[in-house]
Symmetry: C3
Subunit: 212 residues, 3 copies
């Protein structure tokens, strides 16, 4: 038995959830980085960014499934089973909507909009804050940092709200109805990503209220 | 006292919820069958399909109300009261959005789209799987079948996602902005039905996690 | 120590939540009154209504924050902590979507639509019923009145549903794609307000089921 295995034997059973959430949030941070980078260097004829997003989305699905399997096996969980379910589903929604945003950007062949990269930067920041929140939840030690991350995510969502309305106002100046329908649809998917990040932050705050 | 009454006296109190959920899911299966049939033989001048959908929707409301009344009367429930509330609300949402889809198809006089019937077939399959899941939940005996039904509903939702994006791409090829707004609105309602079916599947999986 | 302070000392700790919910619902009633009035006397060149909506929205945020702070401090709550969190979030959503509706009405410079004021009247009625529900929840004494208020909110949401579809049918008669996109977007925000009111009513009914 190697050192790694010994460690695993003595590891409290409920740590597995923190390990899995760390994997999910790491995946989301990498996904949002590549999404943002892909939009900055956008090339409609090169769909490698879309393929990457699809891969990240599948990986997220797999880890989410692992979390649900562990929920079925473990009696001891760091917090209520429903809360773990809600967190995992919320993180999965974030990956789903980043992927949907990418899909419709390619599908509608909508030209690279400044607003798209502005949104992807906000999404990247939100994913980094979500990672911070989960890193600091381990052992319920750094609750202040968790709370600060949640506040930042809420403020990112407010900025995204304003970005959406300002982008829509600019978009209508094109007076091109079909283009307006396409771009507004992508902008709405992008804005939902930040809504889903806020949902995760709210679920975390709900857990803090119960256990703090 | 007739045999029916004797049976009811000895029936465990919590069976009433399975009986009512069986009624709801039976209603949903019939509704989705008639919706699919109605779209296949679509005739804008004959609104009997829309009237049927309205009737099914009202019937669903009534059984949902019965479930809530029973929740208020019964101390013993087969699973948490909140879970029963969530399941009943989720099933009610499915009926609501099928009805809304039908309503906007007639309202917008949007020509019969191939995508509409493709969606209605997916919706019908999802409703049949929901019925399977509830039939197998009785007594918590056939948990494997319940889980399989939930997996199928999730996979139907994925297919519906792709159907939506492919249909949107085709729709934009018409270059008719007003038609695009109308049809995309109906497609979105149809896609929400499969989202709501997935929500019910997730609520069921959540219950499995708690009780399995 | 003044009489006010003595009173506060002897006041059961959990009354603070009813006091705070009374503040939120009072704010929502005033907000919906001014929204309705502002739409009746609508003047695109005078954005004082929009500023008022922004102020009400901020005030709602502050009281919601107070509720969350109290949740963190109080061991004793009148009902489950998660339920208080859900109610506070639901009421916050109502204020958010009224503000969003106002914002997009000004942003899109969309002419005053009859449907807008019809919606704002429904929203005002829903907010009054929400206030009634909370006033009657104190001490769990007037449960019948709470239930009646919830039923009225549900029926307002049904009326709003029909208002939306009728307004959309009229809107398409303008045959002006860009105008249709703008107005339908505002109508959707307005309809979401009544959906959020229904969510609050459902959360209240859920609490009644647990405690009645």
């Amino acid at each position: 038995m190697g050192i790694g295995n010994i460690f695993q034997v003595f590891q409290p059973k409920d740590k597995i959830f923190f390990v899995l959430f760390e994997k999910v949030t790491e995946n989301l941070v990498a996904m949002s980085n590549d999404f943002n980078q892909g939009l900055q260097d956008f090339d409609l004829n090169d769909d490698s960014m879309l393929k990457k997003m699809s891969d990240y989305e599948h990986k997220n699905d797999e880890i989410t499934h692992e979390i649900f399997v562990e929920l079925g096996k473990n009696f001891i969980t760091p917090f209520d089973r429903e809360d773990i379910h809600e967190l995992a589903s919320g993180l999965d929604d974030i990956a789903d909507y980043i992927y949907s945003s990418a899909k419709y950007i390619y599908l509608y062949k909508s030209p690279q909009q400044k607003a798209y990269t502005e949104f992807s930067l906000l999404i990247q920041k939100a994913c980094v804050e979500i990672q911070h929140a989960f890193q600091n939840m381990k052992g319920f030690k750094n609750m202040k940092q968790v709370k600060e991350a949640c506040i930042k995510i809420n403020s990112i969502e407010n900025i995204a709200d304003d970005l959406l309305s300002n982008s829509m106002a600019e978009l209508f100046e094109t007076h091109d109805a079909i283009n307006i329908i396409k771009v507004s649809s992508v902008l709405n998917y992008l804005e939902i990503v930040t809504d889903k990040a806020e949902d995760v932050a709210n679920a975390i705050e709900n857990i803090l209220i119960k256990y703090a």
